[in-house]
Amino acid sequence: MPLVPKGRLYFFTGKGGVGKTLAALSLAHHLRQKNKNILFMDTRAPENKEHTLCQRLHLTYKPINVLASLEEYARFKFHSRTLAKWITRLEFTASLMNIVPGIGHIVYLGYISHLLKKDPALTIVLDAPSSGHMATMLGSLETYHQIFRSGTIFNDIKAINDFILSPKNVAVFICHLPTQLSLTEGCELKDRLENLSLNNIHMVLNAALSLALHHLSEELPPYLSERLRLETQALNQFPYPWIAKIPYLTSLDDLEKIKEMSLCWEGVIT
């Protein structure tokens, strides 16, 4: 079974609704148990769910404030706290960043690479956006690379780009449900990300019914046996190896699920 070389930053992405968040939390929990210095982050506005779960797992949740990060960057660049404050408080700046999401993406990725460079012992698990928006987020680096072409911002973006694209630093986990739709979209996403020169990409299977039921021979109701059949069929056609396979879990409690899921990461990362 292939292994994921130890990295600094782990992205979790995949089709909407496949279970990225819980999968990300389960890896973070697993790494935490191995006494790693872990930060859990997500790209959406902090929702109660992630924050509460992190607290209960004794995981450090780090929310990100894009404008605050931009201010820090501006202060560093212009050597002026006043100017940095002025730039970020300007109405035009906020509305520009709202209209064009790429700027926020770059600030976000820049902030993360900054955290990792500052503390060599740190590892970050990131609950990233789903498919298309994940590609957009990473694509923003290339987009703004083209737009600036030269100058100090260009150089800074290049540094972020080099950091994120290095397989030494970053691994991407694309999560899938065992449905044809999800598996197809996962493969498409892998292609798109590879076109953006991202290479350390691994496939994770979530909620596999076949793993939960494989040892049981009792009769299932028609819809479950059909679902199992379709799942097996879709999985047989999947062209990539699974780095981790998480069975369908019957628990209705997120914390319980995360703890069970974290067992699936044993031995996956070197």
Partner: protein, 344 residues
């Protein structure tokens, strides 16, 4: 049937198939229907076999229903097609060219413009809208406000005169004081001068040019920005919030509903898709793991329906359909729409 029917919800619950079935159901009753998807994954093209058709253009198609063929129009929204329509020559500016790429991030805003365009044309009895999952849909709703903030009159005037400001300085003439006022008031001039220090030499020029191009289209953008307000009107638009019996999906659905209410939209109709309670009731497993599984599945569904009862004035339960074939699925879903017609 309202003028606009919007299907929103979390990922992987069957939104696209449901919206397609709703469009077919209405078209079957003789209505002129446009089905639009703003979901970048364009799943509709598989359902209607439109893989050869270019995205961004309205396609009139006939669906081969066993009773009688159904005619309807379909649009797979494409950000580039919208940009080409509104900008005659965006590729000449490096910034616009890059923002227009599929990874440019203007998807939600351009979807709003495209939707407004078709509503404005008034060619259809009803437009059925299939949206992108979860937070992207919320971004779509917020796009109206984002546009309005950006197309602030003060910014527009500051930029439109910034170009001429540079020229007039070069001609050593004194610029009109009101223009200077605008530029100073918005901080635009000062911001650009600082930006010039950290960006490439030509960047500021490209930037100003791009902004002026975008601002020249303010009417198009501002018209579209009013759409979310119109969508709030209960006599005008109907909302279907789709979820399924998977526990996690219900929580996300609740989050969407919360945001919708906060932004002034009505509660709409909830749809619980893939209901399996009836089928499960007929199953009598004997081994403990399967008993646990059955109970877990039943409890999940019961919890969701209970929550929905508390939070929605109307809801519909769509049963799980035992076929992967989209034709079978659509046929059964259309029947179900018929069965519940008039009850919500």
């Amino acid at each position: 049937m309202k003028k606009l029917e919007i299907f929103c919800g979390t990922g992987g619950v069957g939104k696209t198939t449901l919206s397609a079935s709703r469009a077919l159901f209405l078209a079957q009753k003789g209505k002129k229907i446009l089905l639009i998807t703003i979901d970048p994954s364009h799943r509709l093209k598989d359902i209607f076999s439109l893989n050869q058709s270019p995205p961004g253009k309205v396609i009139k198609t006939t669906y081969d229903h066993p009773e009688k063929p159904i005619t309807l129009s379909i649009l797979l929204m494409s950000p580039q097609a919208v940009l080409s329509k509104i900008f005659s020559n965006y590729t000449s500016n490096i910034i616009l060219k890059n923002l227009a790429s599929p990874l440019g991030g203007l998807h939600e805003i351009l979807s709003l413009i495209e939707l407004e365009h078709h509503i404005h044309k008034g060619l259809y009895d009803c437009i059925v809208l299939d949206t992108a999952p979860h937070t992207h849909f919320l971004d779509f709703l917020k796009s109206g406000l984002r546009i309005q903030k950006f197309f602030n009159k003060k910014f527009i005037q500051a930029f439109s005169h910034f170009g001429s400001l540079k020229n007039t300085y070069q001609k050593t003439q004194k610029p009109p004081s009101r223009i200077v006022e605008f530029a100073i008031e918005t901080g635009v001039k000062k911001l650009l001068s600082y930006m010039e220090k950290v960006t490439g030499k030509n960047f500021i020029q490209s930037f100003t040019e791009a902004l002026n191009s975008i601002y020249s289209l303010k009417d198009t953008f501002l018209r579209a920005s009013n759409l979310p307000k119109v969508m709030q009107r209960e006599d005008w638009a109907d909302w279907f919030l789709v979820t399924s019996s998977e526990h996690d999906k219900w929580r996300e659905a609740q989050a969407i509903q919360q945001k919708m209410i906060e932004t002034g939209h009505s509660r709409g109709t909830a749809i619980v898709n893939h209901c399996t309670a009836q089928e499960l009731a007929q199953w009598s497993p004997t081994s403990p793991p399967l008993i646990t599984l059955k109970n877990s599945l039943l409890k999940r569904e019961k919890n969701i329906i209970h929550s929905i009862e508390q939070n929605f004035p109307r809801w519909i339960e769509f049963p799980h359909i035992n076929s992967e074939d989209s034709r079978d699925q659509l046929r059964e879903l259309i029947e179900k729409w018929n069965a519940v017609d008039g009850s919500f």
